[in-house]
Symmetry: C2
Subunit: 409 residues, 2 copies
């Protein structure tokens, strides 16, 4: 069994920050009580694991959010109406089963049917997420054989699950948190490195908990939390056709406080969000943009997204260049926000103000050192009112071009 990086543990050490040097750390994370998984290779593309099923004993509750894409894949179409009935989630990686027409829909349905039979549950209790190349039919014979070979669970390790759902991710993403005043835990896994700007939805993330919490509450807490975490993430402004976030509770550990649960879920999803941003295609730096003093949260998020998505800001960060003029430009292009006045705006890199106050020569050296680090924080105060938003992204590098100019059709 692989010994893998777990950022949630590290995250709890430094709540405000990021897991510095995280890739060097080795920890494992077990799934919460009541969960088991089956992770295998069925031969979709190569010999890495590509077929994952996670299932909950007990009396599970669930909730999910999905892509709003007009080209949403058949797996999203199948899973969306079942989001409050899940006992198990199947993930097929290396093929998205998107833009595959009626055959694709029937394939996604068949997979959930076959898995439901093996687990002895109803079809409606199985959700499916598929991820990988768009526009290719699933190799159903291989998948059928793979499901026939599935014989109970073969792991309770969340790291194995995170590995099973990877496509071009370079590291698995796992995060966990314990819930205050309870023995219950929340464990989340996610995948995604490109085609990532979740919009009222998200990439593929699965969150597991043993805390007993009813479905409607789970749904409300999930939506609120995703909006402040995964929906504040952009690698490349491109929204996936397969975005899926599902939370599944085995309900084994009773009676947790909702606020404590929401807080722990927030911690898990913030960690996954930052892990995804840091592993963005070709990324070498994580960018965190906070906009405060906004008229409302929507405005703060709009301006912050404009900055984190600007290719000129992303390349400046890549070049360790404190080019605040590009941040000003990115704020400025929110041209419908006529209450933003350039004479009231303050721009900072880290804690160093760069506009309107001029940077001194000695500050500039310190600032250049800061810009060469692996995390760059940009802080903008609009000084209109008091709303705030923080978003995450990554630098734009030649690696992104290489990965995506070479990726297959």
């Amino acid at each position: 069994m692989a010994i893998l990086y777990n950022s949630a543990h590290l995250y709890s050490v430094n709540r405000s920050g990021l897991p510095a040097g995280a890739k060097q750390q080795c920890v494992t994370t077990s799934l919460p009580e009541g969960f088991s998984a089956y992770v295998a290779n069925v031969g979709i593309k190569d010999d890495t694991n590509d077929f994952t099923v996670v299932f909950a004993r007990g009396n599970p509750t669930s909730a999910g959010v999905f892509t709003q894409s007009r080209f949403a894949g058949p797996s999203v179409v199948v899973s969306r109406p079942r989001r409050d009935k899940a006992h198990a989630i199947v993930v097929v990686s290396k093929n998205a089963n998107v833009a595959t027409g009626s055959q694709g829909l029937s394939d996604s349905k068949e997979i959930t049917h076959l898995v439901a039979q093996r687990l002895g549950i109803a079809d409606d209790n199985v959700l499916i997420a598929t991820t990988g190349v768009i526009g290719r039919a699933l190799p159903m014979e291989l998948i059928r054989a793979g499901i026939a070979a599935m014989d109970g669970h073969n792991t309770t390790d969340a790291d194995n699950v995170a590995h099973g759902i990877m496509t071009t991710d370079t590291v698995p993403k796992v995060a966990s948190a314990s819930i205050a005043d309870s023995a219950a835990r929340i464990v989340g896994v996610a995948k995604g490195v490109g085609m990532i700007e979740p919009n009222m939805a998200t990439l593929i993330a699965m969150i597991f908990t043993d805390a007993a919490i009813d479905g409607a509450d789970l749904d409300a807490i999930l939506r609120t939390t995703v909006d402040q975490t995964l929906n504040c993430l952009s690698i490349d402004t491109d929204t996936s056709t397969s975005d899926t976030a599902i939370i599944l509770s085995s309900g084994i550990i009773a009676a947790v406080g909702h606020a404590a649960f929401a807080s722990a879920l927030h911690e898990v999803l913030i960690s996954l969000t930052q892990q995804i941003a840091r592993d963005g295609e070709g990324a070498e730096k994580l960018i965190e943009v906070t906009v405060d003093g906004a008229n409302n949260v929507a405005q703060a998020k709009r301006v912050a997204k404009s900055i984190v998505n600007s290719p000129l800001v992303k390349t400046a960060v890549h070049g360790a260049d404190p080019n605040w003029g590009r941040v000003a430009m990115a704020i400025g292009k929110c041209s419908d926000d006529t209450d933003i006045l350039q004479e009231n705006v303050v721009i900072r890199f880290g804690s160093q103000e760069v506009y309107p106050n001029t940077v001194t020569a000695s500050d500039l050296e310190q600032l250049s050192n800061y810009m060469r680090g692996d995390t760059v924080r940009i802080h903008v105060s609009l000084n209109i009112s008091d709303a705030t938003s923080t978003v995450w992204g990554c630098d734009l590098t030649a690696g992104y071009i290489r990965i995506n100019a070479d990726y297959t059709t």
Copy 2:
């Protein structure tokens, strides 16, 4: 005097297409009747020309459109209210004079005042555009000395003007057209390679005509035409703080038909738009996206922009990969357009349908050859109604990263 590339001439040879092999062509373009220019180096950054004044004799009329940026530069602030009074336009290149506060405003005003004195016209008759790095004060002593040295005009060559306003452009952009049933001409020059997604405005473009046409008509025709040309352009989704397009008529040649004038202006601006897209930072290919069958033009343009701005589409084009799944994704992320149904959409590269019909093996080879060309057309039919829009952009390359990760602060 440099002998320079003029695409307008070539464009008129092949109206539907682009100036193939344009960089090899050598033609010169004179300014229209009644125009002269002064182009010089005043030492803003290096020894290339950085100070340009174009002025019209006769009884000029003018119109202009400007950036909507909330960080609009002082030169935009000075020029906007004078847009219908211009006799002359000053362009300072290599320094944008943006985010420079009250000093920047007073500098832009002083430059127009000094130039107005030299030309013997009112301050209000002089417009100014500045372009280059953001956040640095203009070197006013050098500029004052440069204006003092200005002694009448030194060129009537539009290519010299186009050269004078360049920053990191690799080729000057000039286009000209004659007006049907008239001796009058329209000549346009433009600059811009990055920070380009004009929004209700544009980058720096100057259009000169000797056709007599009153200011209100000029304004209406300019706005309509810019909306179909320069506003359909995106290099990198970033909107400049300095976007300025000005049209100036010397009125020497009387009585042109408005339709003929609008048609010639459209021809000039389409050519400049395509020249700018092709010279986008690091660009190796021009991408033209046409969306038809839309419910309205705004929807067609929104979907087309989503495609031409997608970094995954741009990198696929760079890699000559007919990865239509990414085009489907980019259409899909227009999630508010709920009348877009994936089962009704048709996607083509060039004339080759790739979705929903599958590409045969022999078609695929032809398609790969097409994708390796220097112009890639993507054609999407939404099959909702009959509105159409065409937009232009370029591929995303390691050159873009190199240029922008190295650019100065």
